[in-house]
Amino acid sequence: MTPPPTVAPARPEVVTEGLPRRRPAWIETATSADHKTVGLMYVATALSFLVLALVELVLMRLQLIVPESTLIDPIVFDELLSAYGATAVVLFGIPLGLGLMSYIVPLQIGARSVAFPRLGALSFWLYLAGGILLYASFLYHPPDAGVNPLSPLSDEIFSPNGGMDAWIGGVGLALMGFVLMAVNLVATLHNHRAPGMVWRRMPPFAWSALVSSYVLIFTSAVMLAALAMLLIDRNYNGVFFDADEGGSPILWQHLSWLFFSGAYVVMLLPGFGAISEILPVFSRKPAFAHRAISRSFVAIGVLGVLAWMQNMYSAPIPLGWTIVAMAIALALLVPVGLLFFNWIATLWGGALEMRAPLLFALGAISTTAIGLAGELTQSVIPVAWQIANTTAATTDTHYALIGGSVFGGFAALYYWFPKLTGRVMGEGLARISFWTLLAGVHLTFGPLFFAGLEGQPVDLYKYYEGSGLDGYNLVASLGSLVLAAGVITTLINAAYSANRGVRAGHDPWGGHTLEWFALSPPPPHNFDAIPDVRGTEPLREIREAVRQRTESWRAPAPLERPAAATAPAAATEEAPTASGATEAGAADPPDTGEAPPDGGGGSVA
């Protein structure tokens, strides 16, 4: 009886062929298609570009600190100006919102992933490539045709160097990335919602993501077309914007202002969404009217984009069209007013916990209210004829957008940072940052408003002595340093807290939405079990259900073991939630996995 020679003696063996080897962390990150990694990269990159935008802003303000200053060469000033515009809007404002959405929205709607993970990754790399392309032009010749390079100036006759092409390429690549991310988010929001999460139960931040995504798909596509036309005009003798050849410079204004109007909305909405999440959590009472808030977002998205011609009141277009634009722009007062009303009604009567997220959210509301009230005056044609393109007009824009993107973005950052990193950002630095930032905004842009009333146009590299503008500009320039200090403090706070902050549980704030149901940071698949959603604040309802069960639970006869009833289902979910959470006991989500008797079927009504 000899064994067959081909059979080797049995010995323990670990099969590793099927598993990929772990690569260095940076490769894992760079090649990841996980929506959370992509979101983190988006946010980190956007914040880096925020620093660049700040540097440019401060340099420009330093040039304007005294009249007829010769500190910075006029051409260099124009380059800083052009780079500042593109950076603040395209490389910071929009992507910060998109990054947060990419990270948070799938978690909020109880999805295990986005619809097109690789599209998300491609989106980030296109955006980064756009940013690098734009800034690489600083090695030879940066763009210098202004924030919105109006057509004949951006033509090859007046901007013959390659900087303008770098602007087109950089902005174009980033916008392609944004469109892809927007498509990704729209598909995710339409198809990957948890059972029971019908539209009206979707959290406000997810609503803002949906509206922003649609706005981006529409307006970025238009801008991409405009950029392609400009590229053809510049390099291949196109005639799209050339008046002598039958083209029209006004066409560029329509297309680009459509995009910038959309960008304005997209810079505001994520902040608005985050504020709408933060207020109920930190005032310890539900949102005053969940549905009104999401409807306001939709209205703001639609009307905000359609009112693009409010930027063209002085252009040679028929008066009738500008009146239509004025009507649409003023109609925005209804959704915006309702939004502010609902926010204050949410705060009213609450028990406000003045933690960093709430502080920044309040700052955002205050600043945005001032900015949007200013924009209200400017949507009236005769007012805009006088005020548009003065520093008073940029003041309004900056109040609104710093409110939405910086205050709102920071509020979101402070709020979701524990989810992103597992750690809470420092409260002390947050307070310093908040007050510095608030002072900085008012010191920088308050004086500029009055300078604008006195007739200082925007984008000037110098103003003349004796024009009465010295004082305003001096204060504004010093204020910009305060503003920068405020922003940098929060960034330092984030960088420090990412590794050394106080550990947060899965739900440090007592949040109401599903992202707090996941671990901090969530595992690659987000949730072990996806709960059934039966209201606008799923986690609150989960907690409530747990509490009721705990209270109504009566110990059975002493002979039986009490845990037997819930043990099997709980075992699968207990592990992730309990491991990272300090207060996992409070929420104890696992119970709900089996709580609803009708597993997602009865929620559509």
């Binding site: 006029p74 124009d78 057509s151 004949p152 100036l153 006759i157 007046f158 002598d244 029209s248 410079p249 006004i250 005032s283 310890r284 009472k285 009217a289 002085s314 252009a315 040679p316 008066l319 009146i323 004025m326 003023l330 007062l333 209804v334 007013g337 309702l338 502010f340 609902n342 705060l347 009213w348 009567g349 609450g350 028990a351 916990e353 309040l362 205050s366 209210a369 001032i370 009230a373 209200l376 005056t377 009236v380 005769p382 007012v383 004829w385 006088q386 548009a388 003065t390 409260e427 307070r431 310093i432 007050w435 510095t436 002072a439 009333l453 146009p457 925007v458 984008d459 000037l460 103003y463």
Partner: protein, 309 residues
């Protein structure tokens, strides 16, 4: 928690002190509306601004006041839970309607002022009359219907403005017009988009290549009005200032004659010079040189040459 609160307190105190120090100085100096108008349409714009600014300030203050009140009143306290706040029936609709009513009122008001500001007003009695200067002197009513306003062709170029008067006379940098006279500006650009703006004489309007645009003003007082192009137009953009000198009608007519004579003299002088040069060197270069020469010779009225040239 103590340290940051202390810092915040100190910062607030410092800011309050700063504000207190600045307030008296600021109150006297800060403008609450654009520059005082010297033209009917600029007055309309100022009216519009003042009215809408009041609405905006009320809205902005109301939101901020409510915010501060909420923060002061509803801090989390031990033993006090959040209260359930309920609006009345259809509170959203009511607030929405209120906002809609404000928006509608602002829109109607804005529409009226827009139309008003665009409406040409007839020249005043002291102004230049189209028919002749005699009508005004004889104390007759100026003929309203067939009266033609003074029409000036304004052409923007990097980085100066060129003004062409009805009789073909032109000037650079400075527009000279008679007082109390309706002046219609036909805006045009030879290169990039410029934006003509003299705050005291009305709003800003674009000069776009290949597209006609129009604005008007009627200066009510003699003097010099400063303005500034308000659309970014390249490296020397801040030097592109607009200047309007308003003269009495006789002064204006004298200036116009003088300007025409100056241009004529300059042109003949240059012509002679060029011909002389041609005779001397036998080089044909007149074709390219003439337009440029015209530009140079307009300098007498212009002052310093623009930065980029």
């Amino acid at each position: 928690m103590r340290r940051p609160r202390l810092v915040a307190l100190c910062a607030t105190a410092a800011l309050a002190l700063l504000a207190l120090a600045l307030l008296p100085a600021a109150a006297s100096a800060i403008p609450l509306a654009p520059e005082s108008p010297h033209s009917p349409n600029a007055e309309d714009l100022r009216t519009a601004y003042s009215a809408v600014a009041i609405v905006a300030v009320i809205l902005g203050l109301a939101i901020n006041a409510a915010l501060i009140a909420a923060v002061v009143r509803f801090r989390a306290r031990r033993g006090v839970g959040p209260a359930r706040v309920r609006g009345g029936r259809q509170i959203q609709a009511r607030v929405g309607m209120m906002m809609g009513a404000i928006a509608l009122a602002v829109f109607v008001f804005g529409l009226i002022v827009t139309v008003e500001a665009r409406d040409l007003e007839a020249s005043g009695p002291q102004g230049l009359q189209a028919s002749s200067a005699h009508t005004a002197q004889l104390g007759l009513d100026p003929p309203d219907a067939d009266e033609e306003p003074l029409s000036v062709q304004v052409s923007g170029q990097q980085w100066l403005w060129r003004y062409e008067y009805p009789d073909g006379t032109f000037s650079y940098h400075e527009l000279v017009v008679p007082v109390d006279t309706t002046v219609v500006l036909a805006l045009d650009s030879t290169d990039v988009v410029h934006r003509w703006w003299v705050p005291a004489l009305g709003g800003k309007f674009d000069a776009v290549p290949g597209r006609a645009n129009e604005t008007w003003f009627k200066a009510d007082e003699e003097g010099v009005y400063e303005g500034q192009s308000a659309a970014f137009s390249g490296p020397a953009y801040p030097t592109m200032r607009a200047r309007v000198e308003v003269l009495s009608v006789p002064d204006y007519e004298a200036w116009l004659e003088q300007q025409a004579a100056d241009i004529q003299a300059a042109q003949t002088a240059v012509q002679a010079q060029v011909e002389e040069q041609n005779l001397e060197t036998q080089v044909q270069e007149t074709a390219g040189a003439n337009p440029a020469v015209d530009d140079f010779e307009s300098e007498p009225s212009a002052g310093a040459s623009p930065g980029g040239e």
